[in-house]
């Protein structure tokens, strides 16, 4: 299907306008607006820029997701040509871009009904012509096979089977029509690599396309299958109950010699590390990488060779990549030193290993992409994430560690507005959701930076149960709702309230999901610490989570609930005592409730329960119901929430000042000032 036959005139029209805009604007310079008081919610959430920048295997092209307001576009530019084109636009968010050959790539969009894939083939002659094909298929990409043009490895889920096939993009495009044979029977196109009964996820395929490991999802367990050597059949080696942390066993890649697997596992210790696993003896034989202080959260694998490149982890909230030995490592280490405390990762590289795209980010930098050419020793900026944001308006995030009531050490982050002169700032305490295995990081956070730009200091405690700090830290959070977790938050708040630059008399607490529960639990705990609280999609009745939510529909989730939150059969009274909806009589703090009427995780009745009780007790509250919003929020809902939160906070924390609305923000005018990708040389 060509670009013109996308079937959406509106889309094509936008595409034309965008292409014209892109060409006109090449060479114009970027301008940044100075926000005198604070940033607009649109600017920080709805800004324009580029992400998912990927260099082609030969280093001739760069592809990226350009976004302007609600619209996303896939853009390509021939390196050195200075001209770019937007090949596809959508209001859906772009999930991934993968080069599948010298002049071709595939891209996926997240839609209401799942992922939608497109294949884009660029003009081999070197011009800017292209063709777009919608991949009318089911399943997902396992390997883009960038060195085998026109082919990919694809996982198809059909009825009770999962099929792994090496398939041409042409067959994939016509999948729905071509997948039935002459007798009307279903046929998966391409060459079968593997076929397994059940739902598979996380295939580990080596460079020769042998399946080395796969995880199957069963009723209450994940089943891990491995092969002992390339080409050997798969056998089950683990059945994992994922509520049991001890059992963590996540195959990530095969070693270059094919004899072992790299697995994320505790390996009998407190922190998750990268272990080398011998599938023949069913033993860990060696530790590839681990740290004594933090979990290893991921492994970067080379797109072209499938070899492991770097271990990923967070220290002090900053994402770090530790590159293994091999070509280019010295250069990456040197570059990392050059970028200081910013997080640097290689996102794609050329076949010769001499050129690569780098992604650099930090708490005050939403992201920048660089192109590194080893042969000419050049490093150039090629794209900027959220480029409408003036980085000088963003505030630095400090990290500190504090001891909780029972001696547990808690890491927390404090953002102090750095562009406003004031003796002491009002404080917004913002506990994260979860509470288990979720965390805050010291990376760019739009919500935090928006509030900081308007003169609020923001505290984000990584209370017990937060991800990345090891098994004991997770275990410490079991059945600690409204108790140990809130002790940790108290410790961080009390630590910060002693600072001279914090006004301890002006503090509010806000949060979503578990953070919303925590906001409510804390105003039950402290009658006069907080001037206000905001709970969005927040839990108020713990028992209700187990009786009326999507968690209640899953036996697996309920096992987790019993173990980590509490057993309704035997501990109902305790759970009720910990639930803010049953302790409203103790609350003296004004509260705002923000909730979506389509939230299936934390039902809107959690907010209604609080509101009914507050009404009955004649206590103050405000509410904002967002129609159609589920547990998460999209960009538009995010803007509504940010604005409503700031308006409410200002009534209590800047009560003497007149409320100032967000500055006007015109995304079109804003976008017209910049070129999202600059790649001239």
């Amino acid at each position: 299907m060509s670009g013109a036959s996308l079937g959406k005139a509106r889309l094509t029209q936008r595409l034309a306008v965008w292409i014209a805009l892109s060409f006109v604007l090449i060479g114009s310079s970027a301008t940044a607006e100075k926000a005198p008081t604070g940033l607009s919610a649109e600017r920080i959430l709805h800004s324009s820029g580029a992400s998912l920048v990927r260099v082609s295997p030969t280093g001739d092209w760069v592809a990226a997701d350009l976004y302007r307001g609600r619209l996303n576009g896939i853009a390509v530019q021939r390196i050195g040509s200075g001209s770019q084109q937007v090949v596809l636009t959508t209001e859906d968010s772009v999930q991934s871009i993968h080069w599948t050959g010298e002049n071709e790539f595939i891209a996926s969009f997240s839609t209401d009904t799942g992922s939608q894939w497109f294949s884009i083939v660029l003009s081999a002659a070197g011009g800017l012509g292209h063709s777009i094909t919608k991949l009318d298929t089911i399943g997902w990409l396992v390997d883009p096979l960038p060195l085998s043009p026109g082919e990919v490895v694809w996982s198809f889920q059909y009825r009770e089977w999962t099929h792994l096939h090496r398939v041409s993009l042409i067959d994939l495009a016509g999948f729905r029509k071509a997948s039935r044979n002459s007798r009307g029977r279903f046929r998966i196109p391409g060459d079968q690599i593997e076929k397994l009964r059940g739902a598979a996820r996380d295939w580990v395929v080596d460079a020769e396309l042998n399946v080395r490991a796969v995880t199957m999802i069963e009723e209450e367990l994940y089943r891990v299958l491995v092969s002992s050597k390339p080409g050997a059949g798969l056998r089950t080696i683990r059945r994992i109950d994922y509520s049991d942390d001890e059992a963590t066993f996540r195959p990530l890649a095969a070693t270059a010699d094919g004899t072992r697997l790299i697995v994320a596992a505790y390996g009998g210790r407190d922190k998750i590390g990268l272990e080398l696993y011998d599938p023949v003896s069913d033993q860990f034989t060696e530790t590839l990488f681990r740290r004594p202080d933090v979990d290893i959260t991921g492994l970067q694998v080379d797109d072209l060779t499938r070899e492991p490149v770097a271990a990923i982890y967070e220290v002090g909230g900053e994402v770090q990549y530790d590159y293994f030995g091999g070509e280019g490592r010295a250069s990456l280490v040197a570059l990392q030193e050059q970028f200081g405390d910013q997080s640097l990762s290689m996102v794609s590289r050329t076949e010769d290993g001499k050129r690569f795209a780098l992604w650099v980010r930090s708490a005050t930098n939403p992201g920048e992409y660089f192109f590194r050419d080893e042969t000419s020793d050049q490093l150039m900026t090629i794209a900027t994430v959220a480029d409408a944001l003036d980085r000088s308006t963003l505030s630095r995030v400090e990290e500190f560690v504090v001891e909780s009531k029972d001696g547990t050490e808690i890491e927390a982050y404090l953002t102090i507005p750095n562009h406003i002169t004031r003796d002491a700032f009002p404080l917004v305490v913002m506990p994260h959701g979860g509470p288990i295995n979720i965390r805050d990081r010291r990376v760019f956070n739009a919500r935090v930076q928006y509030l900081a730009s308007w003169g609020y200091a923001v505290l984000q405690p990584n209370y017990r149960g937060s991800a990345g700090y090891g098994r004991d830290f997770i275990e410490a959070a079991k059945k600690q709702w409204a108790s140990g977790i809130e002790d940790d938050i108290d410790a961080a708040v009390e630590h910060v309230m002693k600072r001279a630059d914090i006004d301890a008399s002006r503090v509010c607490i806000i949060g979503g999901s578990y953070g919303g529960f925590s906001a409510l639990a804390n105003v039950v705990r402290h009658r006069d610490r907080y001037r206000c609280a905001i709970s969005w999609n927040g839990v108020s009745d713990i028992a209700m989570l187990a009786e009326s939510s999507d968690m209640a529909d899953s036996e697996d989730a309920m096992e987790y609930f019993d173990e980590f939150i509490g057993d309704l059969e035997t501990e109902r009274e305790k759970l009720i005592a910990a639930s803010p909806a049953y302790s409203v009589e103790k609350i003296e703090t004004p509260i705002m409730f923000i909730y979506g009427d389509r939230d299936r995780r934390v039902d809107p009745d959690h907010s209604h329960r609080m509101m009914l009780m507050l009404e009955t007790l004649d206590k103050p509250f405000e509410s904002l119901e967002i129609e159609g919003m589920a547990h998460g929020y999209n960009r538009t809902e995010g803007i509504i929430i940010l604005r409503a939160m700031r308006r409410y906070l200002s009534r209590f924390l800047y009560a003497d000042s007149e409320f100032e609305r967000d500055p006007e923000f015109s995304e079109d005018a804003d976008a017209s000032q910049r070129v999202p990708i600059k790649f001239d040389r």
Binding site: A543, M544, R572, D603, L612, M613
Partner: protein, 222 residues
């Protein structure tokens, strides 16, 4: 001439559709035997062996009929959110099934409990569809949530029908829409799951009423 004839026929069809729409809007809850809809406003006289039931339905498709036990609780329910109070025989009951409108884009019959004689799609039976009506009280059995926009999980059923516990939402709505009933009867959760929130709320409400009453008495005494 021909154009005006076509136009008049178009109008006739339009009028017919509008009439059918009006008829279906006039239908509603409690249209069949055993169930009586309670009118908004004063003057309700309760029957001794019957209880009041809050009916809250949120559907993103029109519903031809919603069944409780063997009879239709509601008929001609338009897409959207609905709230009624009906009077029902005391005792155990079940949401049994629903019939979608002709153009809903999904299969016609959905069964939660028991057996249907006709063609149907089967939705996972669960205790959440059971409830008990107590005479002389306002009973909230949960809200019926009907969603057709969920991801298609299988070729059998593509409609998600759940009974969700929105007891606080329903209680707040009752106060808005039926203020005369709100103060006059105890409100209870009628589902089979052991939710105690409404009991707690009733206790707090009664305590508040008692303290207000004591306060006003002491005020008089002073």
């Amino acid at each position: 001439m021909r154009r005006s004839l076509i136009r008049s026929r178009v109008w006739m069809v339009f009028a017919l559709v509008a009439q059918l729409g009006l008829m279906s809007a006039l239908l509603g809850c409690g249209a069949t035997r055993g169930i009586d809809v309670v009118s908004r406003g004063p003057g309700f006289q309760p029957s001794p062996d019957r209880g009041l039931m809050i009916v809250q339905i949120d559907s993103d498709i029109p519903l031809k009929r919603v069944m409780i036990d063997d009879y239709a609780l509601c008929e001609g329910v338009a897409k959207g959110k609905h709230f009624w109070v009906v009077e029902m025989p005391a005792g155990k009951h079940s949401w049994r099934g629903l019939e979608t409108g002709a153009n809903a884009g999904v299969a016609a019959w959905y069964q939660f409990k028991g057996r249907w004689s006709g063609p149907h799609n089967f939705i996972k039976p669960d205790e959440e569809y059971d409830f008990e009506i107590v005479a002389g009280q306002i009973n909230y059995p949960g809200s019926l949530i009907v969603r057709s926009d969920v991801m298609r999980r299988s070729s059998v059923a593509d409609l998600n029908v759940r009974v969700r516990n929105h007891s606080a939402m329903a209680t707040r709505k009752l106060r808005q829409e039926y203020p005369e009933l709100f103060g006059a009867y105890r409100i209870r959760y009628a589902g089979v799951r052991g939710d105690t929130f409404l009991e707690h709320w009733e206790e707090v409400r009664q305590r508040g009423a008692a303290s207000t009453s004591e306060g006003s008495q002491s005020g008089v005494a002073e």
